[in-house]
Symmetry: C2
Subunit: 109 residues, 2 copies
Amino acid sequence: MGTTKTDLFTKEQNEIALMMKAIAHPARIAILQELLKINACVCGDLVNELGLAQATISQHLKELKSVGLIQGTIEGTSVCYCIDPVVWNEYRQVFTDFFMVMDNTNKCC
Amino acid sequence: MGTTKTDLFTKEQNEIALMMKAIAHPARIAILQELLKINACVCGDLVNELGLAQATISQHLKELKSVGLIQGTIEGTSVCYCIDPVVWNEYRQVFTDFFMVMDNTNKCC
DNA sequence: GAAATCAATCGTAATATTGCGATTGATGGG
DNA sequence: CCCATCAATCGCAATATTACGATTGATTTC
């Protein structure tokens, strides 16, 4: 118990869920927005910006990196993070498709 | 510990996170897709369709209802669930805005 | 009214997530 | 080489999520 029963659902359903989950945290949204704004970032800046501990932010960055949304390259002592535009656009497409299905005229109850 | 520190983030960031979280589960995605497809549904059908226990599906329906994405009206012994098109379109707009910010030409690292 | 049916709720167990202090590993400057 | 700095990782605690059996409450049917 306690684990999501992924075998009951389609590959697409599981993938969309994972994509949503990757972004479904205010800290990760803040990180993404920050990266979008200044178009490049080192982790230290994010620690100062967000107010969370360094270990916590590093963990959120790891999650975003694991789904490919961001990438980090070592830049001297610090690490430069930025959004991967290809993956970002894939996400946009998937989300757009998901919400586009709606035929909003019919409302049965 | 263990709790998300919502006070560190903007109202918008927390709201987007909650919206994503509401959908970030394959069962809830399956429910939404099913509701979109047949445009109306009773809970029993979903139990047969998804393979999860009745209590579990009822719980997922409750979560979707709590964010306003679906609404249920009592129809005899069963309950008729359907998507609220207004909230659905709000979600679409928020998600579209979130992903639209990208200026995908620049990639720093 | 009794039995049947459907969905919500309760209680509980298992697992996942969030957050942080402390440590580690790598790099640059002196 | 030694020290400072930055980010990743480890280990832990607190909380949240997921799932289900059992029960409850409402409604329909007989």
